[in-house]
Amino acid sequence: MSSGFVGTGALVRLGLRRDRIMLPAWIAGVVVLAVGSAAAAADLYPTVESRVSAATAANNTTALLALYGRVYDPTSLGGISMVKTGGIGAVLIALLSIIVVVRHTRAEEESGRLELVGATVVGRYAALTAALIIAVATNVVLALLTAVSIAGAGLPTAGSYAFGAAWGGVGIAFAAIAAVTAQLSSTARGATSLGSIVLGVVYVLRAVGDTAGPDGPSWMSWLSPIGWGQQFRPYAGDRWWVLLITFAFAVVVIGGAYALVERRDVGAGLIADRLGPATAPAGLRSPFALAWRLQRGSLFGWLAAFAGLGLVLGNIAGNVGGFVDSPSAREMVAKLGGQQGLTDAFISAEMGIMGFVAAIYGIQAALRLRGEEAGQRAEPLLVASVSRTRWVMSHLVVALGGSALLLVAAGLTAGLSHGAQSGDMGRFGPVFVTAVLQLPAVWVLTGIVVLAFGAAPRLVVAGWVALVVFLMLGQLGPLLELDQWAMDLSPFTHIPRFPVGDVDPVPLVWLVLIAVALVAAGLVAFRRRDITT
């Protein structure tokens, strides 16, 4: 048994070497997010009264409870200022843990590199152990840095350490979950998707628990690793014992992952491969048909998620106004999104978030181009009489069209459920339009990926960097009172705040033109460069 761990140390060093840019960048990004919120807190909520009124308003708004969680101590500065960041950050940290673990386990195995390493003196459990060590260490560093930084930014010290520990606990729980999904699926893509689905499910579980009334299923928050992070209650009691639940969960789940490693062959998943057809279907005769075949599964999954989210958002949008009764509460909601008309502000803000999420889809669908090129799967097409433009367009149609479909789906379900819930089907139009209006900004991000792919294929992460920058500008810009020119860098700033205000088509047209220009520039550059791996 113990020989199964031989070589773990070497793999940890190899992993840290490979991640020497990615890990510090992620950690820095999340810490900056936390510090930004902490630093703005004292100005936003100078008095206890201002905190109590803002916290009461937030706690009485179902949608905010569902999205970010509850403020457990309305009087504390940390509670109200970190509630939103706490939720967003927990998701980012969970994703980071999933990516790190899958990257050093299933992705290595799928590429065959693990076999190369495994044939040397490396035990059966070494890769998984190394991945978990890297992930846990990353989360510990992240937790400590966060705690020190936000305490330094003026929040209470004890609560700040609890906040950091709560985040670290979420990360460790998801490292454990990813350790299992990496054994279940035979592809890295599948393992990451499975981990993300678990993340989505547990986020919803705690949303249901947090919004439940006194007689409702509030216990559901306790089924969710994200919920445990919030039940830690930083700045409101700092219940350190909740961390024990997270650790117990992690130990059990990681034990399960080791048991799965024991039971399977290198390279295989637990879900066996079935045989495919001996001949291609008649339709599989163009690069687009192939791109669709490769990407449709993922798109269907995203469509289901968007339709579901739309349904929920449309349903709770009508409740927003009812719960809010004080002027400061209205101000709070306005700060989190729009200017007036609470329901409209809510719809506008939430569709803005849907736009960001659709941009994630667009980016990763366009990144398929680089994945195919680097995986040497572009070559067979490019030497089989497919022009470079045609090949790029095949995946780009999926990325651009797919993100459009996502927003249409969310708009349809949100409009219908909001119409049904409010008893006024006339509300369908505005809700639907708000969703679809996000599209030009989504396309700009896809365009950035195409430009990077064409001009500097090794720097395609530029798409993700741009998304994070735009996200921070959008979420933190109003809190930090950034200059307008800085806010204007984000395409999402230029999306009209419909249905709060009118739709000005000019910025939309500009955004589409910019997207087209980015794609065209990327194509020109790609046609002039070498195919690289």
Binding site: G276, A289, G375, P380, L382, V383, A384, I531
Partner: protein
Amino acid sequence: MTEAISVSGLVKAYGPTRALDGLDLTVRTGEVHGFLGPNGAGKSTTIRVLLGLLRADAGTTRLLGGDPWKDAVTLHRRLAYVPGDVTLWPTLSGGEVIDLLGRLRGGLNPTRRADLLERFELDPRKKGRAYSKGNRQKVALIAALASDVELLILDEPTSGLDPLMEAVFQECVQEERVQGRTVLLSSHILAEVEALCDRVSIIRNGKTVETGTLTELRHLTRTSISAELASAPNGLAALPGVHDLKVEGLRVHFDVDTDQLDAVLRQLTQAGVRSLASHPPTLEQLFLRHYESESTDAVMSR
């Protein structure tokens, strides 16, 4: 047109390193041309330039009468390519890949496809990720060989194939030759090259060092001679072209440059020959001489 591929003075640099440094290559229409050289010599880089995947920095390249960079799309209808390390889409079956690539190239011959599947003993229903290395090679080989094209560009196509499948591959290439197709075959398997190739080019460090038929190349190298003489050999060591001379009493062993054989044999008959054995150079020796690393070269020329 008599030249399917003509390359001269081809240069491709990656930063300061020159992968190709003035490479020349001529492949005549209808021939099977062996493309040889040690690892890292620039074979795959040359092929990727010919396929329009890489852009040449200097030199002229003509492929089937066109420019491989500018006319890539039209030229690719007339050629098929098999890389040395085939990667497949994990979720597509082998049969689907064969059909897709064939259709993109303008259709493939269904009878030939079925025939090749049988001869290569490939199960086309398996998913890309389930194939072994050798079976992935077979998928690409069948897709290429079942297409109706003028030119086959094969870059170490049999890596990972077992000896039985290697034989099937050689049969298939012979059939292609009979059909009048041109083949550029990069390979490290000397028996394969000897059995299939009309002419070969040997490259090293991005330059062509030798081109010709195997017979022509043999002339450029040395013959080993062992002889038993009637009297002690005189002046053998002083003759040009004699190497590694060993004298044991009346027995001599040496290598001689093939173009100096006449003079050497005359010298031997003067001493009186009792027995004589001569060995033409093996292919192995031929290649090893060309494959020897630059450092050996440098030492020898000093």
